[in-house]
Amino acid sequence: MPTFRLLDIDLTTGTTRVSDVSDRFEKYLGGTGVATSLLLETPAGLDPLAPEAPVIFAIGPFSAVFPVVTKTVALFKSPLTGNLGESHAGGRLAMAMYGAGFHVIRLTGRAAFPCYVTVDEDRVEVHRAHSLWGSSALAAERILRDHEPSSFKRSIVRIGPAGERCSPIAAATVDSSRHFGRLGLGGVMGSKNLKALVVSGGRYWPVTEKGKYNAFYQKIYEAVVNSPAMKKYHDLGTAMNVMPLSRINGLPTRNFSQGFFEGAADISGETFAEKHLTQHLACGHCQTGCIHMATLRERFDPEEHQYKTFKISYDHELVYAFGSNLSIQNPEEVLRLLLQVEKEGWDAMSIGVTLAWAVDAFQAGHLTAKETDGLVLNFGDAATYDKMLHRIKAGHNGFYRDLEKGAVFCAKKYGGQECAIAFGGNEAPGYMTGLFAYLGYATGVRHSHLDSAGYSIDQKVLNEPKPDEELVQGLYKESVWRMALNSLVICLFARNIYTKEAVLEGLAALGLTGWDEARLNATARRIHAMKLRYKERCGFRFDDLALPGKLARVISGNGQVTSERFARQVAAYRDLAAKDAGELPAEYR
């Protein structure tokens, strides 16, 4: 039976502690389940940027062990929403944590100086790093990869300057273009004076159930490489959604004014592939390789033939946030803006949606040239967005400094609240397919499209209408099942490969006994209830969730969505969740 260890790092004192947390893995599987149990043990009412607020990175029993189980979960208190901060990232981090021999790494405290931390198996060090402070998220990785050699594969998590400024929409970037994007992990790391975390190690589990393990591995490998299950992700990637979504009026355009983007064909997955895709990359131990890297070659000297070339990854969410939703249809302009976002280390969706709010707010008169210091904000104006990003970076004035606090904060301060397209405080992802996309963002524990995939329900009911009451049950069921997937921290792109049966077979192949479907389901319900408990403790109430005013006026992929209809189904979801509150372990009641 494998054992699971937790590494605690206190940045205030520089001390570390290792403990065996196998019992928690037995109870909560791993990943998000285990991390939630740890987060629930922090005192209520903590300031998200206080030294005592923990950052918890966790992986699960399948991590690095089976194909496409590549994600690491980060849990923290979100400085953006004030409640559950949860973000998932790929790259090599899960593999490196497994190699280091820690399934959970928890950082608390605040270093007295800018620092980075190295974890090379049991050698854990906090290094002074004044020289790194201020470096872009891309430069920091280059430097650390040189400066911290290891005989083992390393993973580097770091923040850009946005994180250093404690922006609540700052991301933490992992290896090549993977991100803990959502809900402000970057800002929390910045508050700890923590620029980066470098993880490596050569520890491993032996194959104990040789026949079972190899048979299961082979089956998953075949499904990943030779079945249609992952084709979409390694072919055009999620950017393949751009055209079909626009066709059904589901692609957010000009700050969710409409779902049809007249320029969709120019920023589609097909166009990016033809014009800019240079290669695919993979996370550690994923044979799919869904990371789409674009190259942009630019002449930088008008007099001479001098060129520069940069590489940047793209996917549907990025193309939505800096393409259709800002009405930019030139892919080169999209890529240029994304490079800035990547270097500075913002969450692309959050900063993109905040810029889109600013345009609406400017046009409605809530913002004037006084705030923007002379810039006139229009949709489609990439040159102005470029200037805005530079001004945010430079802290040009109070308004620009506010922009990196997110759309909800800005709307409260400057007006135009109905145009702040956020759910539960988190800027919305790139689907306006209808009620269930919105419900998913609102009710999801991390206010992400990945919580329950409501957008896919919307697309199904286009052909096969069903009553809301029935569909909301499906939404709830999916969000609960994803607790199990996220505790094993399987990449959700492989959710159709890792069915319940497959998960049980995988657990048995590792010698983790005693799991059956009923226990798996109960564990998922318990974890979901624990997350809601944490959120409630931080002040979250389902009844406070509201549909952004603008969305009640515009036409989604499934027609108009009224605030009343939205509220009714939020209440239905709340009641479904309340029924499962009994699953909450006594110690967390």
Binding site: A64, V65, P67, M95, G99, E141, R142, I143, R145, D146, S151, F152, K153, S176, S177, G202, R203, Y204, W205, P206, V207, K210, N214, Y217, Y221, V224, V225, T278, Q279, H280, L281, A282, C283, G284, H285, C286, Q287, T288, G289, M293, K311
Partner: protein, 139 residues
């Protein structure tokens, strides 16, 4: 004539490490990349550039020549055979292998020798590596 492992399409590598996991799994029953007899390297700041270092199966192996105790000896068909009982853990072999193909087992303190078995090839999703018939004169 035996087949030897070769890099066929370096530029198609996605850096998934599936090949390294396969080698460790099959030969060492270990779930890791660190027991693999080949290495997929990446570089600081050059996103997406990988270099694959398999054992080339030399006919007059530099690693074996460097070995002071003949723990490594030329293998008929190319590459080397390893006799663990003779190894003094000096690492002269890994230093002598110019492409850094010969890996070091940090746990057991011995080199990790490629068997030229082709298992890694079966787990490469992108046709980056392959087993090829190589005439002895070309090894």
């Amino acid at each position: 004539m035996g087949k030897l492992l070769r890099v066929l399409n370096r530029e198609q590598c996605i850096g998934c490490y599936s090949c390294m996991f396969a080698c460790s799994r099959v030969w060492y029953q270990a779930i890791t990349v660190e027991k693999a007899a080949l290495r997929v390297k990446n570089y600081a700041g050059i996103e997406g550039a990988f270099s694959i270092r398999p054992c080339y199966g030399c006919s007059d192996p530099d690693c074996a020549r460097a070995c002071p105790t003949q723990a490594l000896t030329p293998r008929p068909g190319g590459g080397v055979l390893f006799d663990e009982t003779k190894c003094t853990h000096c690492e002269a072999c890994t230093q002598a292998c110019v492409p850094d193909a010969l890996q070091w087992d940090h746990e057991k303190n011995v080199p990790i020798v490629c068997r030229q078995c082709g298992v890694c090839v079966k787990f490469c999703p992108n046709g980056v590596i392959g087993m090829q018939e190589i005439a002895p004169a070309a090894r």
